[in-house]
Symmetry: C2
Subunit: 379 residues, 2 copies
């Protein structure tokens, strides 16, 4: 299978939209307010209702979605006026970013906009949670993600393998991630198609790995080259940039996504978020989720299969509680997952990726992963 080049595919419209289309919708928020004022109506701002009452699991799509319930906030209301003012401020900034191709971290936009309102003692924002909240409102209002509004979270994660990227917004830098020593590329927070073009990929699949130590181990063993894999290390819960990259590799290059985490509720939840999204980002699943992602391990069945009994760890009470929660999720309802989760709850043990070192350092690269992936032994 070596050296095949997956053909590039078209992404859906919402994924490739750039500053122009989204800027137009952001501008419309302001136009609408101006229109209302000119017609002596109360200015209003509409966005989606958040929280459990408007979140559901979409069986057809296989991921968590935000429903259609909307909320309209009037300016002339004592409880809503402050938030309205904040919304206008952030909307204006996003408009400016999009117009001038600027970007800012969500902490920077908070600091940019923080000041005391003239002739009052009132601060525009009293903490970053206030501006964060408004950013989500605007994302939902214009049906996009913050990255397309010029905003970004902290980057995290590394990329390694035969993949060539072009940074369209930075000197058109073109670089491959296959000859970067054992470090790889630091994944940016914004991986939008109009900024980061994925020019070429030579790989059979993408392996997403929870711990940076395991990511390092697999490169050290030359696993990506030998098995024609792209490697993404998430260093714990996957950041938005890493998730967006995984999603794009799945849909833009039709590559299978295989997830490899510790065998515990925390690791399984990392898989869950990559696969089906999360409640908190329910509106963004269509940008981030990969419903047909496969889970290779670690599993409690592995403990028996590979004789790892001596290197399991005890689960804490919180972990057991978390495992019970996972059992109730729609996308963990398969008999295999229910069995696995019940095993974890009964035995109260967990098994880490690195515990495979108990066999030998190269066991994971030479036996465990090839055996399971080649034979498609997925959960």
């Amino acid at each position: 299978m070596a050296n095949q080049k997956p053909k590039k595919q078209e992404l859906e419209k919402h994924e490739v939209e750039g500053a122009k289309e989204i800027g137009k919708r952001v501008y419309e928020i302001a136009e609408n307010i101006v229109h209302q004022i000119e017609h002596e109506h109360t200015p209003t701002f509409s966005t989606k209702v958040r929280g459990l009452s408007n979140v559901y699991f979409d069986q057809d799509k296989g991921f968590i979605q935000l429903g259609d319930k909307t909320v309209t906030r009037p300016f002339l209301n004592l409880g809503a006026a402050r938030k309205f003012m904040q919304t206008v401020l952030v909307t204006e900034k996003c408009n400016e970013y999009l117009k001038h191709s600027k970007t800012a971290s969500i902490r920077e936009i908070y600091y940019e906009l923080k000041h005391t309102v003239a002739k009052t003692n009132e601060n525009t924002f009293d903490g970053q949670e206030e501006s964060n909240d408004v950013i989500v409102d605007i994302e939902h209002s214009v049906s996009t993600i913050r990255e397309k509004l010029g905003l970004q979270a902290d980057p995290k994660g590394s990329l390694y393998g035969d993949i060539t990227l072009i940074d369209r917004k930075h000197n058109n830098d073109e670089f491959s991630c296959k000859n970067l020593g054992r470090g790889g590329w630091s994944i940016m927070s914004r991986i939008e198609p109009d900024e980061i073009e994925i020019k070429e990929v030579n790989a059979d699949f993408v392996l997403v790995v929870e711990t940076s130590a395991m990511y390092g181990r697999l490169i050290e063993e030359n696993y990506p080259k030998k098995h024609n894999a792209i490697l993404i290390g998430t260093s714990g819960q996957a950041a938005r940039g890493a998730r967006r990259l995984v999603h794009r590799l799945r849909y833009e290059f039709n590559l299978p996504i295989v997830v490899f985490t510790d065998g515990d509720p925390y690791g399984w939840y990392i898989y869950s978020v990559i696969k089906s999204g999360s409640m908190a980002l329910a509106a963004h699943s269509k940008f981030l989720a990969v419903p047909d992602a496969k889970y290779v391990g670690m599993t409690l069945t592995d403990v028996e299969e590979y004789g790892l009994q001596a290197v399991t760890e005890k689960m804490k009470d919180g972990d057991v509680k978390r495992a019970k929660e996972l059992m109730s999720y729609d996308w963990f309802k398969s008999p295999a997952w229910q069995k696995e989760l019940k095993l974890a709850i009964d035995k109260k043990i967990r098994i880490e990726q690195q515990a495979l070192a108990n066999k030998s350092l190269d066991f994971v690269a030479k036996k465990y992963l090839p055996e399971k992936i080649d034979n498609e032994i997925f959960l």
Copy 2:
């Protein structure tokens, strides 16, 4: 100053030692034990005493050091036998790693060696803290760092700029970190000269940045190129790999090191560790510390100077306590630092790097840093 190439310099012997020299000293631990057994003496293992009683600040060198006090542990002692057994196990593994050019994370070596001792109920290790402890003993015993024993901690941090590296242990990959888009290179955990060669650097100085968001901001503004700087983002407290890289750039290429953190005790401590080392790694300062590193900001004086009063944050009680501790450190005894720390304690405020966005997003790259660095306004 653009495009000068700093000349490569010789590092001190302890820094360039490779597997051969260190492997010899590791082997001597075992030879010594065998010799003792053959002569019917109690086998012993000697290492340095750790803890405050053997740690001091070396005024001449400008960094924290571990003193000469040693401790010798006999095997035939009920309290020491278990640790002796563990020391022999880890020593043997390190010998194997060095002999076969293998490396392992400190969690992997724990798992590799964890088993139940035959015919007993005794585990070799009951938790990773036990193997970690023994690793430090061996580091001290053979006067080196774990990275040279084939061991590594988790990697963290990113590198950006006109610097070319060669990974001698991985296909001799040669790559520059100046055209990697806005992400940069994920810094490995082991940056030893016999593995990672720094082939060429075109830069006037190295800027070490605390937050990944500020690292991204400076690349976005093209700061490294415009100011001929190498950028290292530490994402909080600098990991060992990042510190080793900073140290090598200082001594191998004679580059000035400038540190840029949040203006609070946590940020100042990041600077402190880069500059003078830490109590916990007192023995390793000669591999990691950079006593003439400069601190550019943030400072509480900046708050006045640049009119940032609206974007300071309150310090918590713990921060105030930490600031008082910093005041007592030898390397914070300069009048300027004492004044700064007193100001923080009196005003109980802190100022973040990203708060500079209150002026404008590019203020940090176009005004703040150039003004302070060009005029050498350092603390």
